[in-house]
């Protein structure tokens, strides 16, 4: 049996605390208030309280801090969030005295009071804290609101059970191609809007290729699709793309952002290599493979939280544990404060990443908007406090060799736990169970201020009835199962919504990682539920879900706001009356460039690369992700900070990006390669050949033939000026907006 332990000594049952409190009160009340003592209070204590404390701690305060009042005897004894403010007779145990001494609190905040003043308080408390003030009892301060979890489950959209909605009848029965289209058209109908005309075939093909595999179609693929008049031509394209090994590379990208994937730490002191994870890529490769094989999403999540506990240490799925194992480690991990910060990261990546709840907001106080108590926060944080990161040996040989060589003293000293690899190069950084422990609540997040111990359990609002404490080891397995329980309405909804965002540019609920009350409600709640139920029906298949989305009429619409009416009534296109034109991600953009220049290396998986290297042809997803120093190309093009979970990419447009496009060695090299390709594929330099080169360039880069006007502009440029004109021309086409955007 695993042992339970708690952090800190406070395990007094609540009842005992309450009894003590009553006793204290009783003693104080019974204290004989001599005249002398009353005078002492009036002379030395009250003026100080009035001058330095009442601003924040009286019934007259604009804002009472820490729920603590100091303007009546009763309220002093009752205390605030941290407990009674004084313990009569015991200055050292009295919070007020401690605060004046700047021990655990520093009060007053403007500066320590003179030593004589503090000594008076000590004396006052020691002598019983006589307090002649006649309070009107403890004035009412709004008590911590008790959270009504059941009501929240019934009232808040994201916490309600999934509901089936029949796809509605619509004004134009010929428009929908998928049931989901009916939900979209119904909303447009209700607003008097019409969907946009469908995108042309080439546009749709480039769009769906970039969306599903992150690469543009080849000229041959474009020509063949254009010539394919069979009614199932689009379906065959989608099936081909979903079967492509590049599909996993594209979808994994979304996951890496939300998993705040990185291969090192922001705090690296000197040449410390223990915080570098050269084999972190195994987690990335695991994601790509799992997505390519369409591992059901519930299993996908379970493996990342608890593959070791569900399938044993020998399972090939233990690489999935990088989800937690590659998370940030902060400086000075021996400090409890620092570990509390780390556990917040884990709670956050699980809370926002998997459940769409900002659980971490409840670390210092009950969540201000959502039904999540501080108690819930520490119940989850305890799971991660019971889990340790470690270097799992990559092979049995390494493990054996290390075990034989290992300095046994290190193991004994606890510096290196058994089964851990010495050399990070021979290991992957994942997690395993440590000693199971329940955490105290830390009141207001302060490490000095311990509240009661909380057993590890799942979020109350997602439990029917009283949550069952996690009983097995750290509780990771139970947590994984609770998260992926089909009765939990959030997990599947959150993922369906994210995937929608990938393909339509905006998730149905725009705040994809915040389904709480401070987030945005879905524009089409019934559609979201409909798709989520289909998702569960299809055994959590992401590919089946994707197929419905990209084969829809909604997805097939032309881009851009072409209707004057909708430009006014729906400028943000929340109603999906046209396709949202999008800038490519840095991955799609760089990979498109490589595909056009002919330098793309399509090999799958493996060690990380530097995407700025001129000779580097591997796909951008394989870029080394660093918390210490994010690759400049990635950082410049809005790759998110891997120190924290990212729910979306914020797009910025800067001249620095353009200077990279115009002048960087990488772009110059790609222009040269593209020029060579154009010349090689069309060898003759006669006029007709030049014409064909221009046209070929457009097909390679933008998936379409060049127009007459574009050809004449190109020919004019090629026939004038100095230097290698074809390379200069290729560079211009690489820098164009058309390559950077998808219609």
């Amino acid at each position: 049996m695993a042992q339970r332990r708690t952090i800190g000594a406070l395990r007094l049952p609540l009842l005992a605390v309450a009894a003590l409190f009553l006793l204290v009160t009783f003693v104080a009340r019974g204290e004989e208030l001599t005249k002398e003592r009353g005078e002492f209070f009036e002379k030395h204590i009250r003026p100080v309280l009035v001058e330095h404390c009442y601003e924040c701690h009286s019934t007259q305060s604009e804002k009472v801090k820490a729920k603590l009042l100091l303007d009546s005897r009763e309220s002093v004894l009752k205390g605030g969030e941290s407990g009674p403010a004084i313990v009569p007779g015991d200055p050292d145990a009295s919070l007020v005295v401690q605060a004046l001494r700047f021990e655990n609190f520093e009060m007053p905040p403007k500066g320590k009071l003179p030593a004589e003043t503090i000594a008076k308080f000590e004396q006052w408390v020691k002598e019983g804290a006589a307090d002649p003030r006649e309070g009107s009892g403890v004035p009412a301060i709004a008590a911590v609101p008790t959270i009504d979890f059941a009501a929240a489950r019934q009232q808040w959209w994201s916490l309600k059970p999934l509901q089936f909605h029949l796809p509605p009848a619509v004004s134009d029965e010929s428009w929908p191609r998928q049931p989901l289209d009916r939900f979209v058209l119904q909303r447009l109908d209700a607003t008097g809007l019409r969907p946009a005309a469908p995108a042309d075939r080439r546009t749709w093909l480039r769009r769906v290729s970039l969306d599903l595999i992150g690469l543009p179609p080849t000229p041959a693929e474009a020509a063949s699709f254009e010539a394919d008049e069979a009614p199932d031509a689009a379906e065959r394209v989608v099936d081909r793309l979903l079967a492509s090994p590049h599909y996993g590379e594209r979808v994994a990208r979304m996951w890496l952002d939300l998993a705040r994937y990185a291969e090192d730490q922001a705090h690296i002191v000197g040449k410390d290599e223990s915080l570098l994870y050269p084999n972190a890529y195994l987690y990335r490769d695991w994601l790509i493979n799992a997505l390519n094989s369409d591992l059901p999403y519930d299993r996908f999540v379970q493996m990342q939280l608890a593959a070791d506990l569900l399938e044993g240490d020998e399972s090939p799925n233990v690489a999935a544990l990088g989800f937690i194992g590659l998370g940030p480690k902060y400086y000075s991990r021996r400090s409890l404060q620092v570990m509390l910060d780390e556990w917040e990261d884990r709670v956050d990546v699980v809370g926002r990443g998997l459940l769409g709840l900002t659980v971490a907001c409840a670390r210092c106080h009950d969540h201000k908007f959502d039904p999540i108590g501080t108690e819930d926060y520490y119940a989850l944080a305890g799971v991660f406090a019971s889990t340790t990161m470690f270097n799992r040996p990559l092979s049995a040989e390494t493990e054996k060799a290390d075990a034989e060589q290992k300095d046994n003293k290190e193991v004994e000293n606890g510096k290196k736990a058994a089964g851990e690899a010495k050399d990070p190069k021979q290991a992957m950084h994942v997690v395993r169970d440590g000693s199971p422990m329940d955490l105290n609540i830390f009141i207001r997040g302060s490490v000095e201020n311990k509240g009661p111990t909380v057993p590890r359990h799942f979020l109350r609002v997602l439990c029917q009835g009283e949550p069952q404490p996690f009983a097995s080891g750290s509780g990771r397995r139970e947590l994984a199962e609770a998260i992926t329980d089909p009765e939990n309405p959030l997990t599947a909804r959150v993922m369906v919504n994210r995937l929608w965002g990938q393909y339509f540019g905006r998730p149905l609920a725009a705040s994809a990682s915040n389904f709480g009350m401070s987030g945005e409600k879905p524009t089409h709640p019934e559609l979201l539920d409909y798709l989520t139920l289909r998702f569960l029906e299809n055994d959590w298949s992401l590919k089946a879900l994707t197929r419905q989305m990209v084969l829809s009429a909604t997805y097939g619409q032309g881009s851009g706001n072409t209707s004057q009416v909708s430009a006014f009534t729906d400028p943000e296109n929340r109603l999906l009356g046209h396709f949202q034109r999008r800038r490519l991600t840095v991955e799609q953009w760089r990979d498109s460039i490589l595909a056009a220049s002919g330098r793309l290396d399509e090999s799958l998986g493996g060690k990380s690369i530097d995407p700025q290297q001129v000779s580097e042809g591997r796909r951008t997803i394989y870029s080394r992700a660093s918390r210490l120093e994010l690759n400049k190309l990635l950082a410049m093009f809005d790759y998110p900070d891997p120190n924290v979970h990212a729910d979306r990419r914020v797009e910025t447009t800067t001249p620095l990006q353009k200077m990279f496009v115009l002048n960087s060695p990488f772009m110059v090299e790609q222009a040269s390669a593209l020029a060579q390709r154009l010349s090689a594929d069309v060898p003759d330099s006669a006029y007709a050949a030049k014409y064909q080169r221009v046209d070929l360039a457009y097909r390679l880069l933008y998936g379409r033939p060049a127009t007459d006007q574009e050809i004449s502009l190109g020919l004019r440029f090629l026939s004038q000026g100095n230097g290698d004109r074809i390379q200069q021309y290729a560079h211009v086409l690489l820098a164009a907006n058309e390559l950077l955007y998808v219609d």
Binding site: K110, G111, K112, A266, H267, Y330, S332, D341, R352, T358, A360, C361, S511, N514, G516, S559, G560, N561, Q564, A567, F568, E572, R581, R627, L628, E629, A635, M636, D638, D641, N643, V650, E651, T652, T653, T654, P655, L656, K658, M659, L662, N663, S664, P665, V668, T707, Q709, E710, F717, G721, G723, Q728, H731, V732, A735, A736, N737, E738, L740, Y741
Partner: protein, 473 residues
Amino acid sequence: MMNTPFVSPVSRREMLRRTAIGFGSIGLAGTMQAAGLLGRAEAGTSAAAPHGLHFAPRAKRVIYLFMNGGPSHVDTFDPKPALQDHEGEVPASNTMRKKKGGYVPSPFAFAPRGESGVVMSELFPNLAARADDLCVIRSMHTDVPNHEPGLLLMHSGNQQPIRPSMGSWVSYGLGTENENLPAFVVLAPRRPVIGPYLWANSFLPGAHQGMSVDTNDMQVDKLVTNLNHPSLARAQQREQLDLLNQLNQLHLAGRPQDAALEAQIQAMETAFQMQSEAAEAFDISREPQSLHEAYGTSNFGQQCLLARRLCERGVRYVQVYYLSKDNNQPWDTHTNNDEGHRKLCKDADQATAALLGDLKQRGLLDDTLVVWGGEFGRTPYAEIQENKKPGRDHHHTGFTVFLAGGGVKGGLMYGATDELGMHAVENRVHVHDLHATILHLLGIDHERLTYHYSGRNFRLTDVHGRVVLDILA
């Protein structure tokens, strides 16, 4: 103006997205005034706050001179004669290191300087002449005596690498004054401890990250990456841009009303202009020899000179790190503190004084805030290491930072540590208070410069911070 048949109403969110152009865009202050993102100006002050700021700004830009490692307050700006009386006495309180020695007085002579009588040690002969411009806060305190969390706290208000840096917040709030230059530039000859996270935008849009410039080689094309095409002449590149512009316009013509595409076209043109503008701005070889001599030939001196050039041309926030070739936190004088400070202060004194004088002479000091300090101070007692001259250890409960220019009272010594320099006791100023004050001087209410992320509004000062009104001019 584009000739568009009609203008669509744009939501605030969409407007934010569309206006995210330029280096840091033109800042919330400029673009978001109508949207009220910065909140309303205080009643009665709106006339004085013409840019939609919360207050009338006293400073338009900041130069933050960072002394990596933590300078010793008792050897620089906070004289403690009582250390003499207690010399050798080992402090009673627990300290982080075991090998602590007794209190040790500073070997340096202190004297009041200028008309105001601001006191500093003999290590600052040049700054002595600028004493009346200095606002010395002797009562700083921070949360931890470790470099990493201390640096992060001083830069971002949080000990963990999960929040935007102050420069990024300022860029987000105010934008750049010159669209052809970035709003936030970081100068360092190598990577300081922690490194890039000290100028990270974190959850703010990417345009607000500090543009880091390796000043190891001050040649302008080495300073700014991708500044020039490796082989094409400017005229040839102009031809490319002309064609590109035509193609982009053709592309745009079929896609009317897409502000994002227009922003891309604009950014490309700005980049082309910037190649020459940045080449000029970052080129300190254009400065007269006399100024080079005034600032000194040290890397720190050269960086200060570059910082002035950048600020003069509209860069909003310049962070300058004092690092040396062989040390990424040279002020961390665990051994041989006295000799170390003698050397470090020599460069720091010359360059800082030259910078203040130069700014003043150009009329820039009035609206440029200069900040000087490290992540913490150093112990008033000695750190003893075997066979080495004594040093001083990290010290976070009382230390000194000074400000100059941009709306602070010159010639002021503010706050105090106790008689031994151990703890800030009078008018204590926490890091959050310093941040709140810097934002205030820039016209920003630190409680109202927020960014909505992860379900709530975040700010530089989290739930803390108090403007130190006493030091405002």
